[in-house]
Amino acid sequence: MSSTQRGLRTLLGENAVKRIRTSKVLLVGAGGIGCELIKELVVAGFGEIHLVDLDTIDLSNLNRQFLFSQQHIKKPKALVARDVAKEFNPNVNIVAYQDNIMDAKFSVKWFESFDLVFNALDNAQARQHVNKMCVATNTPLFDCGTAGFLGQCQVIIPGKTECYDCREHPAPKSFAVCTIRSTPSLPIHSIVWAKSFLFSLLFGPPAAESQFDETETDDNREELEKLRKEQNELGDLRENLTSPDFMNKLVHKIFMEDIKRLLSMDAMWENRRAPVPLEVPEYSSKDGQTLASQDQRVWTTAESLSVLADSVERLVSRLEAEKEISFDKDDEDTLDFVAAASNLRSSIFGLGLKSKFAVKEIAGNIIPAIATTNAIVSGLGVIEAMKYLAGLDADLRSVNIWRSADRVFTSEKPAAPNPECLVSGVARTTMTAPADFTINQLIEDILKLKLGYSEVSILSDRLLADPDYDDNLEKTLQELSLHDKFVTVIDDDDERVNLEIYITEGPVNIEQVEIPLRPNQSEADSELLDPADSIPPISSKRTAQDAGLPGTTSSAPGQTFVDLTEQDDAIDLT
């Protein structure tokens, strides 16, 4: 910051300028918004900036992430951002970490050391994690995000405003297995089929278990039987990847025989447009590579077959060196396979055809991103942070960018926390306990004896114990790696709100905590006067999943989720 900034002083006051200069800021994500925020925080005069990002730099970042250039591709974002920012401006003081923000080393204690946090992330899981840490440590969070021309910046002041999880966010798209395997009705269904089913069965890691919900009903018995057969045949084909007529067999099976098999299930097509088995035209793998480079144009059937044949040859030749290949949108061989196979399937089912360029966007879950929207959102975010430090609490605004004829964005006063929220609507405390402290001790000595619970369930990123599940009772905190983590205590009598306990290592001790009653519970009490008469609320038990806890898979901040993860009977596009 310049030694003067007379304008800033007059506008925000001397005190605010001082607070800005002495603030310690955490910035999560060094992508498009992150680069902009670094610049803005430095110029605004923020004293110390800590920057966390696990991701490395990719060519497609360069249209907006101004701290990176060609020479930095594949290098860590956080470290390059720190170094380049310093080249542009010697006043930069950044501590950079190439790490996952959800790593346990970024503990509650660590989060507590910051005055402000900025989220510049593009995945919900990491955003939820930072949100939870900020709420737990009472640290203001400015959550920024963009997608193409749209964007938003949410101001989160724990205890005073809504948090990220106070409102529901749209669930990721998911498709029933039957839609993908038997009855696709949109081009995306063909793409998911080509990527998550066909490609992974032929080239991917062997499936650990059946992808199907094995519970049969009278309705789906026939379909499941056929799908199982189809899958086994594909397994057989995989054994013969190197045989000279593999491609012919593959095409014959997946685009003709399997389709005929589907057609034989008359009932399935009574109310749907029936598929038409492929009539295979002349094609040659020789043209494949040339055609594959024409990625803006929709291929004909023969062209798709040429690309498919060529990509199969390329993939098979790689299998000598690589045991298995996973789909990656930036791996041309895998993308060509998925683009060609999905279009062939779409033409069989009479669905719209897509160029390889468009298939990549869908299969790779690519979100368009431009520098201008990032600049706009980052500007708004830092302005709100400065207003917060200037004590202008009543003027704080959350902003949504959506262009209409007479405004660029809409802004609103942040709402009060949602009492039902599983992040802001819970009680929190900390405790210390030694490594050999068991779950049973936690339940009996702490929760029942000290806190007066009768029946409880305990969760971390999974279920640890409940009245019917005692496998972990004798396991220790160390065995379950629960130090520096939250556990959630659910009152099985359904009277109190959930309690989040943050456990660190030390002699047994728990901070005093008041655990309020559930909102509906306290209402019932006041109405009925005699608590003994109150009817237990019908609210169902909350699970780890709806407690908004991070799942077991770790993820990198600043990284777009590209996987189609398959769970039970649904395929999620996250």
Binding site: L11, F66, P275, V276, A375, G379, R397
Partner: protein, 496 residues
């Protein structure tokens, strides 16, 4: 893959090509114009010249990332050009150590730029510049003062071929052609088994309902509410089974038979170019000659060219594929016929025709093209002060214009504690003086984040102007960071 992949997904490779061939001129370095240049260079603009005669000052340092003690005393434009050039070697960034006034008064220096960016120019100078460039360029002024600022854009005409409509689906049922009509006639609804009846595409049901409608009425498609009700009843009468899905689809799409042959805005554009010498449209010559050709096409075929896009519909596969084929074939024929009409026109008028792909692109989007007619800076100001507009933002607007005037007249960049500035601002704002304090308190310094916001907005507008895609706002956007609110003073005319 290329490094513009994430934006090509928004505006296509053709759009990226337009950016690549665009040339911008930036008159005056502030944090806001610096941010503007940074955004355009990252996006892949072809060329940008930055002009400023001053050296880096203390005030610059407090608001611009690229200016710090190490570059003290260097020319602002050259410092910025050097740093920003390093962000993208495919763009050409030139820094000229000259007074912007020199450019403003030398029309030859201004001629080759598509967009000219100004900052803190007094209104009469802006008007002088406008007179020199309005035939060849769009003018955008960005002003950032402390917590407030504005972005204003000036142009004679701006035209948009791809406005990114939600859908290009158009069934053209008001004017059927023989293939679709004879396909529909080949289906005898009454003779069909229930199962087949349920799988007739709704397009066919609409055509048959329209035939029945024409037997009953002789005055065009249903337009009044009772007429529309009657038409829906005709469709509903096809129903054989309860809640028959294709019949419901037809009812939901019944409005499509009443879609005007030519949308209102397009009719106005037809009128505007009528009888004009097309060359009067200057930069928009190609667009308006395509519009004239489109009008001739409509005169000849009594409808706009088909886009060929169809909605999804419940149907058996053979029927669906047949309809898709009929529409695609017709769209292709229409595109060819349109190109013929257009090329004829070009020959007749002695015009250089647009490329094949431009013609196709226009034809595909013809129902959704747009044109904006802007107003010059002096007009802009007069209209902006209309009494009914939001008075708080009007006051900020007036104070900013006053500040521009004061700085420009006195050759200043800031006014720390200068009372005459306060008086000048108040004089200028006359009845709208409530917000003068906000501008005065900034001492004409910029807050970087406010400038980043304004530079982002201005670059997004410049991108839209360059792409001829999406619709820029008309005309002046005023921003208040403390209230976190914007107001757009609309001005000019929009045809869409």
């Amino acid at each position: 893959m290329n490094k513009y992949d994430r934006q090509i997904r928004l505006w296509s490779e053709a759009g990226q090509g337009s950016l690549k061939s665009a040339r911008h001129l930036v008159l005056g370095v502030t944090a806001a114009t610096t941010e503007f240049v940074k955004n355009m260079v990252l996006a892949g603009i072809g060329h940008v010249t930055i002009v400023d005669g001053n050296s880096v000052t203390e005030a610059d340092r407090s608001a611009s990332f690229f200016m710090h003690h190490d570059v003290d005393g260097s020319n602002r434009a050259q410092v910025i050009a050097q740093y920003i050039q390093s962000l993208n070697d495919e763009a050409e960034v030139v820094g000229a150590a000259e007074n912007p006034n020199h450019y403003i008064q030398t029309p030859e220096l201004l001629a080759s730029y598509d967009i000219i960016i100004t900052t803190r120019l007094a209104d009469d100078i802006l008007m002088q510049l406008w007179k020199n460039v309005c035939k060849t360029s769009v003018l955008i002024q960005i002003d950032s003062y402390g917590c407030v600022g504005q972005v204003r854009s000036f142009f004679l005409w701006h035209t948009i071929v791809d406005s990114h409509p939600e859908s290009r689906v158009e069934l053209y049922l008001h004017n059927l052609w023989s293939e679709i009509e004879s396909y529909s006639d080949s289906i005898d609804l009454e003779a069909l088994e229930n199962h087949d009846h349920e799988h007739i595409a709704f397009v066919v049901l609409l055509i048959k309902a329209l035939q029945e409608w024409k037997r009953r009425h002789h005055n065009g498609p249903p337009s009044t509410l009772p007429e529309k009700k009657e038409f829906k009843a005709i469709i509903k009468a096809f129903e054989r089974t309860y809640d028959q899905e294709n019949v419901s689809e037809a009812v939901r799409n019944a409005w499509r038979v009443s879609v005007p042959k030519v949308p209102e805005g397009l009719s106005k554009l037809f009128e505007i170019q009528e009888g004009c010498n097309l060359r009067e449209f200057g930069l928009q010559l190609t667009f308006f000659s395509l519009v004239r050709a489109l009008k001739q096409f409509v005169a000849k075929y009594d409808r706009l060219p088909l886009s060929g896009d169809l909605p999804d519909m419940k149907s058996d596969t053979a029927g669906y594929n047949r309809i898709v084929e009929i529409y695609r074939t017709k769209a292709k024929q229409d595109a060819e016929q349109f190109a013929r009409v257009y090329l004829n026109l070009c020959q007749l008028e002695g015009l250089e025709p647009a490329s094949q792909s431009e013609i196709e692109h226009f034809c595909k989007n013809c129902r959704h093209i747009r044109a904006l007619r802007g107003v010059p800076p002096n007009e802009d100001k007069r209209l902006n002060l209309r009494v009914h507009e939001d008075s708080e933002f009007k006051s900020i607007f007036s104070a900013i214009c006053g500040a521009n005037e004061y700085l420009y007249r006195n050759h200043l960049t800031t006014w720390y504690g200068d009372q005459s500035a306060a008086e000048a601002l108040r004089d200028y704002s006359a009845h709208y003086a409530d917000q003068v304090g906000l501008v005065y308190d900034s001492s004409a310094e910029e807050l970087h984040s406010v400038s980043a916001f304004l530079g982002g907005i201005a670059a997004q507008e410049a991108t839209k102007f360059t792409l001829h895609q999406y619709t820029p706002f008309m005309h002046t956007l005023v921003y208040d960071a403390i209230k976190q609110a914007t107001h757009v003073f609309l001005n000019g005319e929009i045809f869409n």
